[in-house]
Assembly symmetry: C2
Amino acid sequence: MELLKEKIRDTALLLDGGIVKVDMFLNHQLDTALLYEMGKEFRKLFPSDKITKILTAEASGIAIAAVAGLLFNVPVVFAKKGNPKNICKDAYTADVYSYTKQESKQIRVSKEYLSASDHVLILDDFLANGQAVKGLLEIVKQSGASLEGIGIAIEKGFQEGGKLIRDMGIRLESLAIIEEIKDGEIVFR
Amino acid sequence: MELLKEKIRDTALLLDGGIVKVDMFLNHQLDTALLYEMGKEFRKLFPSDKITKILTAEASGIAIAAVAGLLFNVPVVFAKKGNPKNICKDAYTADVYSYTKQESKQIRVSKEYLSASDHVLILDDFLANGQAVKGLLEIVKQSGASLEGIGIAIEKGFQEGGKLIRDMGIRLESLAIIEEIKDGEIVFR
């Protein structure tokens, strides 16, 4: 998606360890017009009318999923992190290791909001090593729902997540794939 | 807002300690069509063209703010919680005590995304004791931005947050105000 690539080129900060910081439009400030265009793009890539639910993870996937949910005309479910006292006990759970925060956290989705009759599209902001998506896949599996595919805003093609998921035979569509970071410049696939 | 009140009446779970759980459409699963109607309602309540930015807090305010941002045609900034290593150091900060989680957390907004030239509308999902909103107000104050008002989805009228903010002379609009919970039934103001 050219508009997204331009925005990444113009505003992303490149930090040590291959971290691509897109706080300017996606992870701290939200460019809502761009979110809308991204939602339209996901709808084009996944036109199936079978999709009943969009699944994402708290917190960084919520904005993308909420706006896409409008365009798909389906509810969004976001997996919650941690275990605060007023989260429902009857939940699908998975452990997700965050390399950024260097800790493992449980994500959970209440069984009320995902079931075997659902057709699920997973959306998320980033795909790097694939830990978050693997957690969401585990939750879909536990629910018995059908997976319609995975949509990602920004894939880091130089990390293993994309290959890992495509090798599982899952349809994965990323709006922008960063092939490498060379001499401080982003090269897209 | 009648549609929101109906949804609360039909789906909210009432827990001990005055907790109103709206996971069905707002805090775990998102009713995206309702979010859109709520965004339209906020736009009607705050029609000013001076608004340059919507400010909310991670994670529960993001969905409301993102969809409203589309309708206001402005960027959204969400305050981040905690202090992970890749959050910008140069930030406005405030401490917020959560009665639900029984802990105090710092919220922060990078100075890049809020400045004295901004006109800010604060949006959030819940107003109870007002701790989260007070934190956001502190951040707006530090930035020197002008506050255009505060929009809340669900205000708990039986807790002190609403009075506290209105007594400060701030324009506060809540789409649904729960006056009390009587014999297990919600009574709206």
